[in-house]
Structure formats: C-alpha cells, structure tokens
C-alpha cells in the first residue's frame, strides 16, 4: 500500500494541545481529512471526546471532511473562529 505525506498546521487551542504549530503525517493513499481528525483524537487526549471535526482547510481553503488528501497537501483544522 502506497503512502503519502501531508503537512498538518495547528492554530490556537490546537497549537497548545499539539505543542507545536506544524508537523508531517504519513497517511495511506485515499485517506480523507476526517481520517486525519481521527488520528488527532487518538494522538491527543484532550481531543478524544470530539467525534466531529471542526472546520477543515486543505491548502488554505475550506474543504469537506470527506475530501481525499493528496501527497503534499497542507491540512489545518479550524477551531471556532473569533476574529474581529
């Protein structure tokens, strides 16, 4: 089974939880953004209860959880925004 790598970006509360602003993640071909959130929940205890992912951005644009990722994609989970 081939694998790919994506770049995860962490902002706000997720940056605090992850302890970093970015990391690489190896995924099986065909993995979706929702699969990455599942990995997040398993990797970071404070997220275990969050079955539904927050908003997701792929390559700097909002994307559906079912979006199939490609090698080199930049994936960011967007906690509730509070700009302004």
């Amino acid at each position: 089974m081939r694998t790919m790598k994506v770049r995860l970006l962490f902002f706000a509360v997720l940056r605090d939880i992850a302890g970093t602003g970015a990391r690489e993640l190896a995924l099986a071909d065909g993995a979706t953004a929702r699969d990455v959130w599942q990995w997040m929940r398993e990797s970071y205890a404070p997220l275990a209860d969050y079955a539904q992912p927050p908003l997701i951005a792929v390559n700097e644009a909002y994307a559906a959880p079912e979006t199939v990722l490609r090698d080199g994609d930049e994936v960011a989970f967007i906690p509730p925004v509070a700009g302004g």
Partner: protein
C-alpha cells in the same frame, strides 16, 4: 495591500487609502479590546491567525461586498498578536457617494469576517486565559 498586520492600526491612513473625491460619506468600524467578556474581566487578548488563508478569506469577503455594493470602496486591516484593553483589533472603512451603502457594506464586512476568517483570540484576565469559543464545543 495586506489585510493583516502586527502593528497598531492607523485608521486615518486606512480612510485615506479608500476615500475618493466622489465619496460623500464613509463609515469606519473598529473592534476594540474591551475589559470584559461573558462576565469575566479581560486584560489582554492574543490574536492567532492562519495568515495566508486569512488573507485569502478577507480578500474574498471584500470582493463579495464590493460586488454587492458597486459604489463602495472598502479597506480592511486586522491586527494580530498581543493587544490590551482599548487597542483596536480590526478596522473596516467603507466609503461611497451616499451614506446608506457605506453603513450596509461596513456592517456586512465585519459580520462576514467574524464568521469565516481563521483568526482566534485567547483572552487573558485575572482568572487565567482561555481560547474564545473553544470551551464545550468544537
């Protein structure tokens, strides 16, 4: 011109950047760090941001609002980093020949920005600090 800055906002310069000789009115909105939120005292706010995406999102909002109000010229500047009570976090200027469009466009712009632009704030006060909007929901 970028929509994001790490420096204090110069709202006069923002006004000058949009005002045309044909404009009879402008509306400037500024969001300001206030000393309270949902009953808790606030001393400062840290603004985090997904910068390249936020630039794109704000740009899309500006283009959308300007297309809805063709007579309006818009400028937006959001400040990031550590701000204290009284600091402006965002300034929006809408100018137009007549005032109605400036009010509507300015209001629509701030409403949209608060809905979708990837910017977050961590409030700090005597009781500690907290990411706004995160607690209890995702």
């Amino acid at each position: 011109m970028p929509y994001l800055t790490d420096d204090p906002i110069d709202s006069d310069a923002l006004v000058r950047s949009v005002l045309r000789n044909s404009d009879g009115a402008y509306v400037l909105f500024e969001g300001v760090v206030r000393n309270h939120h949902e009953g808790k005292r606030v001393e400062s706010i840290f603004y985090d941001c997904y910068r390249p995406m936020a630039e794109k999102e704000i740009g899309a909002i500006v283009r959308e609002v300007e297309s809805q109000f063709p007579d309006v010229a818009l400028a937006v500047l959001h400040r990031l980093g550590q701000l204290v009570v009284g600091d402006a976090s965002i300034a929006i200027v809408a100018s137009s020949p007549h005032r109605a469009e400036s009010f509507s466009a300015c209001r629509m712009t701030i409403d949209r920005i608060k809905e979708t632009v990837p910017i977050w704030k961590k409030e700090r006060g005597p009781d500690g600090e907290e990411w706004v909007g995160w607690q209890g929901k995702c």
